[in-house]
Symmetry: C3
Subunit: 349 residues, 3 copies
């Protein structure tokens, strides 16, 4: 037990520990140091991102305590990460005035119930909620601003429009700058950030918890870039990291976290990460007519499909969400006891 873990026995410090772990779980790390660095990165990206992230994570953690969510789940940060993203997402897509703070608090409370509801539904198949509670809550709360005079869209919220074929003229060549910007920003955009320095802080944050998770994040970002280039996505979008963030999370989730890292799960992770680029493009067209945002929905949809498929996939070793730690952690447990998760496999029909 580390000194911090000892200190966190104190209620006040324990609450801070939970908030930090909540933030760390945005990229699957049950680690207060990762969460702390994520918050620092957010403040480096803009004070409002850091402030609303802290506010939302704290409110959600407190709400979870009030309403009686099992303490072990709160302690692991599982009732914090969606709120962190609600805070940042609302600050990104809505104008910043005093009502926004109230709105973030409401969103942080709501996402606790949405998380519990989804966890209850999906738990029947050992499928984790991932960031779906954030996607749904923030998606509805931003779309709602059409009807409210007191909440206005930020400059990042495009007008509602019909998607048009042929707006992408042809495959654009990528400069070296596009490539490394895209590679780093793919990580940064998990938190709506597009500055290299912020992405570097985020990568250090992950590295502090798991070397292999950090490596998978970078590989995922690269897969996103490669797929987007092959299909002819504009260079701007690639350089901003918009083609990589769902691929980052998907690669981390499948290549080592919810599947033990092996050659098959590595291949599956790459396939899935590539598919997020397709799903992202599709969802962007689908939500355009109501001015919607896709958030991390491509990651959620693709990763759900690949995790939910696991009972039918004999040649790939799934990890029960409640047991998943890090790529290294899962490998260690698996080496000691290769069948620690008895798959609920369907009978051979």
């Amino acid at each position: 037990m580390t000194a911090w873990e000892n200190a966190a026995e104190n209620p006040a410090l324990g609450f801070i520990d939970e908030v930090l772990r909540g933030c760390g779980q945005v990229m699957f790390q049950n680690s207060p140091i990762t969460g702390l660095l994520f918050f620092i990165g957010l403040f480096a990206g803009g004070w409002e991102f850091g402030a609303y992230a802290v506010l939302a994570t704290a409110v959600a953690t407190a709400t979870a305590h009030w309403i009686g969510v099992p303490k072990g789940l709160i302690k692991a940060g599982l009732y914090g990460f969606n709120a962190t993203l609600v805070g940042v997402g609302l600050a990104f897509y809505l104008d910043n005035d005093w009502l926004l703070a109230v709105y973030v608090v409401v969103g942080a409370i709501a996402v606790v119930f949405v998380t519990a509801a989804m966890a209850n539904f999906l738990g029947a198949w050992n499928v984790p909620t991932l960031t779906a509670p954030f996607v749904v809550t923030t998606g509805l709360m931003t779309a709602a601003s059409f009807g409210f005079s007191e909440l206005n869209p930020s400059s990042f919220s495009p007008a509602a429009s019909l998607p048009v074929y042929g707006t992408v003229a042809g495959r654009e060549s990528l400069s070296a700058s596009d490539l490394y910007h895209g590679l780093f920003n793919g990580v940064g955009q998990v938190f709506f950030q597009d500055k290299i320095v912020v992405a570097v802080i985020f990568l250090i944050a992950i590295l502090a918890s798991s070397h292999l998770d950090c490596m998978m994040a970078i590989i995922g970002s690269a897969v996103g870039i490669g797929t987007a280039y092959a299909l002819g996505v504009p260079a701007d979008s690639i350089s901003l990291g918009l083609q990589g963030y769902s691929a980052v999370l998907t690669m981390m989730a499948l290549a080592g976290l919810f599947y033990v890292l092996q050659i098959n799960s590595f291949i599956v992770g790459i396939i899935a990460a590539a598919l997020t680029v397709v799903v992202a493009s599709a969802l962007t067209a689908i939500v355009a007519p109501f001015g919607g945002h896709i958030f991390t929905a491509p990651f959620v949809i693709v990763t759900w499909a690949f995790i939910a498929a696991s009972p039918f996939l004999e040649n790939i070793q799934a990890v029960k969400p409640a047991d998943a730690t890090t790529v290294e952690g899962n490998i260690n447990v698996y080496r000691k006891s290769p069948h620690w998760w008895d798959k609920r496999r369907p009978s051979d029909a």
Copy 2:
């Protein structure tokens, strides 16, 4: 056993009893007198609303008997209330000609199967269908009219359009007339009605079954008004009751029906009722491009989330849907036996 319950042993009267209870369940009341008053209120609102409501409820009840739905469910009106709303909803959004009557009959048959399907899916988590079968069935049947020459939209069906930011100029002050119209119409709009007299009949109908349910309905309507005002919804919409009807149903469902009424469930009910205003505004934007209607979807979505969350919420006492009666009824059972519903709680991870 009352005289009516005795009389309802007769097959024909028993069928009428089921139809009346079916209508009563629109606002959660397993009571023939409530259902009768609801029908009377609908006729007061317009003969076509009353007539199609009776027709649809009767057809659905008969269909449920034909296909073999468990008699206890039919008896409790649980296969009627969605059909009641299908009848009123189709009459509201489509032009009234002879084909509409056929269409209502088809919708009433269809909604029986949709209800059974949803009950099967959601039953795995003890989550009730609420009015989702109505929302889905009527939503599809009204959207379908775009492709049919023989079914035309009524004047209440707006053309498909892209939502536009900034159409709401600023927060509008509410007159006393707006306030009391909004308060009553919030109840009336559960059935698409916007006349005070109709809402009063509906409130008396609920009162005949449960004083506390009636109180929660009024509180819900008030919460809807307050939230809509705070966020800057136009006064017209508030006065028509369009910001209140989902809040009414949500407050009733959570503050006493599917949770035992206690301080926590009361607070949760108010939070949830307020959230319906946000979800309603979001869904309105989302369905605008295909000229869709949101019906009671905000109530369904928000209430599902809060009910489905219950196994993870220790400080709030859920009531199994099959056991739920009225606010008073639940309290009485709970006082006698505080743990009569053993929650399927997840293990503390």
Copy 3:
């Protein structure tokens, strides 16, 4: 055991057998001869439909083996039919260049995981995936082309647009030619085909496996035409078979396959087949703003509802998906042992 079944013990021939059965399952037939004739019909419709169908089915079958899907499921063709449709669907809605072949391969791999995921979710209620994996996968992959310069829509992909009321002027009379074209093309359009000769090949393919399944397909097509005419769908759409293909699949699924063919299931099949016309019109409006396609979604949605409802329907004999064979096959098993599937019936509340 037939000579072919003997030959299929050989791995290479066994793989071909699986691919053929995979194609046959598009219309519920676990039969290599049906699948072979379906492929022939597709080549008769256009070389690209046949070629991409074979490619996709083969890739999906190989992927299923690689990742370890239970062999019995692959052998029955259950991991092939969605891929067959992915191949044909992408070839139909996207321009045919070399990248399309890669895209079809990716789609065929993806749909294996999507199928397994949906099978896992829906298996909890004994509800089959039907063609939902195809609808979702192809729906996303075609919508994605808005964002990619290297994949372009074919002439069958309309621009995104808002649906408009009143575009259908009035009920159009149907000529004899419209009627028989509509009747046959209703079957052909299951595979996106609109030539009589192709539909005839398809019907022979079904006939080779089951006379009653073939009859239900034709009845379904007729129900689709009748319903569409009654509601006022343009004659062109009816003649092209666009009002019939979901009705064909729904009638086959409910009137004999997932319900034992009896008078009640026959009536239910007709009601459900008629409803697919309504759902198709609704979905067409809903997806218009993002230029979407509805594929066999009307069949999936309506059939899911009617199958999922079964535990609540005492007067109709459901067949567990894993046990379903053909209309005749189910009847034979049922006659020998009327209660071979103990319904998971809800207790009478």
